[in-house]
């Protein structure tokens, strides 16, 4: 059965002009299908993070075309893109980037409140359910600077999940964790992919992590060397 495409890149090129012209992405084309758990690997500087930020819609300075759920999103204005990110894309970064003034629960609820597709009771219920699924519902009321690094990353994952996005993107999501917590995060991702049918796209240079994903896209010198089929 042919699965639908969640995110598709078509001949994406990006050139850095500062400090010198540097062609960082060359004709990148690939496709991530619904329910896939894909990792992007490659050496430092091969452009994998740059690619991820283009896919994330935060970086709009590129040529080529980008499709999210088969909709062309290249050329959308910032407000539309912000709304797309809010609705359809969840992020997990190397650092958790939680807002320190807010409690764990509030951090998780923020994107949903921004989307405001549901009432705040429903949002709170969803947030607590998500935290429970990640086994961190007991710290929901804590302020974010009072919890451990592993917990922070799980809160960040909960935040990425709250709006039931089409795709979760990760930029080295385990890069700042010890091996036990890294293992935990990977398990969570695997579970999300296999049980919830979520689509995940993770940039990593952790070989063990990548080996446990469905597909590894290997990059080098701004090109895709192997699509991993």
């Amino acid at each position: 059965m042919e699965r639908t495409s969640v995110i598709r890149a078509d001949k994406i090129n990006k050139i850095f002009t500062d400090p010198v012209d540097y062609h960082v992405l060359k004709d990148i084309s690939f496709d991530v299908k619904r329910g896939e758990f894909v990792s992007i690997m490659g050496k430092s500087g091969c452009g994998k993070s740059t690619l991820l930020y283009i896919l994330s819609t935060m970086d709009t300075d590129y040529s080529g075309q980008l499709f999210l759920n088969d909709q062309l999103i290249t050329g959308n204005d910032n407000v539309q893109l912000a709304h797309l990110r809010n609705q359809s894309i969840g992020f997990v970064f190397q650092f958790h980037y939680l807002l320190p003034e807010f409690s764990v629960l509030e951090n998780v609820m923020l994107p949903a409140k921004k989307l405001s597709a549901k009432s705040s009771q429903e949002i709170e219920h969803d947030a607590i359910e998500t935290l429970r699924m990640l086994n961190i519902d007991h710290i929901a009321k804590n302020k974010c600077y009072r919890i451990s690094g592993g917990e922070k990353q799980r809160v960040a994952i909960a935040r990425a999940l709250i709006n039931k996005p089409s795709i979760i993107m990760g930029d080295e999501p385990t890069g700042n964790l010890d091996s036990k917590n890294a293992h935990n995060v990977l398990d969570i991702f695997k579970e999300l992919a296999s049980e919830k049918g979520l689509t995940l796209l993770v940039v990593t240079h952790d070989k063990d992590f990548a080996d446990r994903t469905d597909r590894i896209i290997t990059m080098g010198d701004g090109k895709i060397l192997d699509e991993g089929f």
Binding site: N78, H83, L84, R85, P100
Partner: protein, 418 residues
């Protein structure tokens, strides 16, 4: 668009940085409170001074001025091509009374723009005590009308106006006169007119305008009494004072009256030009000081928000990554500034009001103003509205620039940078 979440974030930012926010807010409070105090006090003072002048000064003063004639007789008998040079021109001999004063008075009283008109007989006189003659000015007035239109009653510090009204042999003397001649209520005083008529009058009141020059010579009697002292009939009137419904018509009307009745008419604006200038300058000073203070407060807010935004780079980046647009982020920071402005400004109004009440109750006793017991303060709500608008505008401007910077932060740079 869901603004409540943005306001919620702004509020959380403010309250987690209560100290910094309080300092920024106190700047606004200080500026607004100072503005309110200054403007209330200054306009109160302006009102008092203007009131003093406006209360007791006629809007138009009609009298006969002794001046040389504009057109000398020889001008009438020669062609316009010729030049007549006349040296040593003397004023024309004429009476100091207003010609046809009673009909004029009647016409003016029926005029709809005129609130009231009073007739006066002003003459010089000597107050005599034994062999001492004190120079003086006696005004014959209708005291009840003078009180109604020009508040003379406020300056009678002893006795009252009805005693004068009911007694043709009564006089209200200036405070200086009464002091020099050791007069008290009920005492008798002898007046000598320029023509040599002597009358003995009973002191029924003491008048204090606050200007020593006036208080040392001025006294008031009834119109009839003055006419009697002058040995003139009841059509002898030297001055007519007008009060209009609209003071702004005084100038034009004075010109009309001059032309119609061939007399001198001075309007209040011409007579008291310096007071307008004083008022304008005090207003300028008030606004200049207040705006300066608010600009300083604005810089405080600008600084604190700017630093705050540098500290919050990561938060801004993640907000943008999770779907908050640049405008949302800007809204957060601008509303943060406005909340500080609103709370600081509101407190400023309160502090300003309380201090104004305090000033309003401070005793302020001066001989010049016998009716004033405390400092004058103007509690006009207009200034409170201006104050809060000032606060909001200055904090908006102070918040706008840093917020614009936050709007333009590129999240990719921040998120990749670490």
């Amino acid at each position: 668009m869901n603004y409540s979440i943005l306001l919620y974030i702004a509020r959380t930012h403010i309250f987690t940085r209560a100290k910094q926010s309080a300092i920024a807010g106190l700047g606004v409070t200080f500026g607004i409170a100072t503005f309110i105090i200054l403007v209330s006090f200054m306009t109160g003072l302006n009102g008092l001074l203007d009131g003093l002048i406006l209360d007791r000064t006629p809007h138009i003063h009609l009298f006969n001025e002794i001046v040389p004639s504009e057109r000398q007789p020889i001008d009438l008998s020669t062609d316009e091509d010729n030049w007549n040079i006349i040296r040593s021109v003397k004023p024309k001999q004429k009476q100091s009374r207003i010609h046809n004063a009673l009909p004029i008075l009647k016409i003016l009283e029926q005029d709809e723009t005129v609130l009231g008109a009073t007739a006066q007989v002003a003459t010089q006189a000597f107050y005599t005590a034994g062999s001492i003659n004190l120079n003086g000015m006696v005004s014959g007035v209708n005291i009840l009308e003078e009180s109604r239109l020009f508040n003379i009653g406020n300056y009678i510090i002893e006795g009252n106006i009805y005693d004068l009204h009911n007694n043709d042999n009564a006089i209200i003397v200036g405070a200086g006169v009464s002091k020099k001649m050791s007069l008290e209520l009920g005492d008798k005083i002898q007046l000598v007119s320029p023509k040599g008529n002597r009358v003995i009058l009973k002191v029924v009141g003491i008048y204090q305008s606050g200007l020593a020059e006036i208080d040392n010579i001025q006294s008031y009697v009834n119109l009839k009494t003055a006419q009697r002292i002058m040995g003139e009939g009841n059509n002898y009137i030297t001055d007519i004072n007008l009060k209009l419904h609209d003071i702004n018509k005084a100038f034009a009307m004075s010109k009309d009256l001059e032309r119609m009745y061939n007399i001198t008419a001075i309007d209040i604006g011409t007579a008291n030009a310096q007071f307008d200038t004083g008022t304008a300058i005090r207003n300028i000073i008030t606004y200049a000081v207040s705006i300066t203070l608010l600009i300083v407060a604005g810089f405080g807010i600008y600084n604190i928000l700017n630093m705050f935004i540098y500290e919050k780079m990561n938060d801004i980046a993640i907000l943008k990554a999770t779907g908050f647009s640049g405008n949302d982020v800007m809204f957060i920071f601008v509303s943060q500034a406005l909340i500080i402005g609103l709370i600081g400004g509101g407190l400023g109004l309160l502090v300003g009001y309380l201090l104004s009440v305090l000033i309003d109750n401070l005793p302020f006793v001066t001989d010049a103003l016998p009716t004033i017991k405390t400092y004058p303060v103007n509690f006009s709500p207009t200034y409170y509205i201006i104050g809060i608008v000032f606060a909001m505008v200055s904090t908006f401007l102070a918040g706008f620039l840093p917020a614009k910077k936050a709007k333009n932060i590129d999240p990719v740079e921040i998120l990749r940078g670490q």
